[in-house]
Symmetry: C2
Subunit: 228 residues, 2 copies
């Protein structure tokens, strides 16, 4: 797969088949993740892979329970069953079904990788610059192998319990929970807002003439009307 | 370029030729950046590109001054001129020369892109999950076009001044400063710590048997002795 094509077509995959992810695939995916940059090349990121080990089983239960609770709260508070969500074929209703299935089966994802940051200074809003680039590399490497993945923050709901279950030091923060597996079913294209809403030049809010999405770009509902 | 090869070979590039980055290249690079995932696909990330505009000139002066100050402090505090740093051919001395050149010419980088996050909740250590994946896509897309880039946090030293110069709202935080240009001179391979120090399975600190770097992987000084 071509690099630019990979960047353009890597989307969140939340449904997986039962086919296992092999050791060889994990080597490629995690090695690619560790090629990412970090501040002063300190590489404070760490990944904890969960498959079928005894501690993974405990962590999976914690994460699965947290995922269900998260979605129960979010589906209510974000109105996924009201408005267009009440129409079964609306994008909102489809997303609600996808999320319900994803969170219900979260604990059973073929692989779950926790991304961690070994802190060398106080927690701050910018520390993710040394861990999330590695997460993005992980997602892209999975795509290169024909696998799919989803980056979530489910670990935030059970951080203390995960620290204990996996013997994670207090100086380490868990920054992401990534599910990985072979994609099941049909997956649509990457949909984003129009580039002119996201990219400015010379000052805030000023879209440059070159900020034009290439032909064929698909937009989110937040964007302009979709071309049929 | 192949996707996995791109992930493996994208390194920080801090020296640039005078050749300009074209509008077409910026379109590809920034569009690729905006394909990245974000929490609930809210896409709170924004990029402010600085080239030759009137406000870019002000921002460049602020950033260039901040870069010089940063390096003056870091080169002293991190002992870049003592120990092996006193030997001109040591990795430490080479890095010190690279950083001195980079920060001295920071303001003149062909393109500087500020990555911003439009906050919808209070600042927290995990918010970078919705902006740094897009930054990593930007670095990889630059690589795909034969350009080079460096992800820095220089904006942190002059955040208030940049907000004013570029009319950035108070609800927006500047999360990264990325320099972009055509690579000048020779650049070595990506060097990281051995995978077994960064990737665990089933618990903290437990390197799995499959966490083995592929043949030819080059390591940082923090890693094992380099094979000659």
């Amino acid at each position: 797969m071509d690099l630019l094509e990979g960047l353009a077509t890597t989307r969140t995959i939340r449904r997986y088949t039962d086919e296992p992810v092999t050791d060889e695939q994990l080597t490629t995916i995690l090695w690619s993740a560790t090629r990412a940059p970090s501040g002063s090349n300190r590489q404070p990121f760490r990944f904890i892979v969960l498959r079928d080990g005894p501690r993974a089983a405990v962590a999976r239960l914690l994460l699965g329970d947290a995922a269900r609770r998260m979605w129960a709260g979010k589906s209510a508070s974000d109105g996924y069953t009201s408005g267009s969500g009440a129409e079964p074929d609306s994008p909102k209703a489809r997303m609600a079904r996808t999320m319900a299935h994803y969170t219900e089966h979260f604990a059973d994802a073929p692989v779950i990788a926790l991304a961690a940051l070994s802190r060398y200074r106080d927690a701050n809003p910018f520390e993710g610059s040394s861990v999330y680039p590695a997460c993005q590399n992980l997602l892209l490497a999975a795509r290169a192998l024909g696998l799919g993945a989803a980056l979530t923050q489910i670990q935030m709901l059970v951080a203390d319990e995960l620290h204990e279950a996996l013997a994670v030091p207090d100086t380490v923060a868990l920054h992401a929970t990534i599910t990985i597996g072979h994609p099941a079913g049909h997956h649509g294209p990457v949909r984003r807002r129009p580039m002119s809403e996201l990219v400015f030049e010379d000052g805030w809010g000023v879209a440059p003439a070159w900020a034009v999405d290439p032909p064929g770009t698909e937009f989110t509902q937040a964007g302009p009307p979709r071309q049929k």
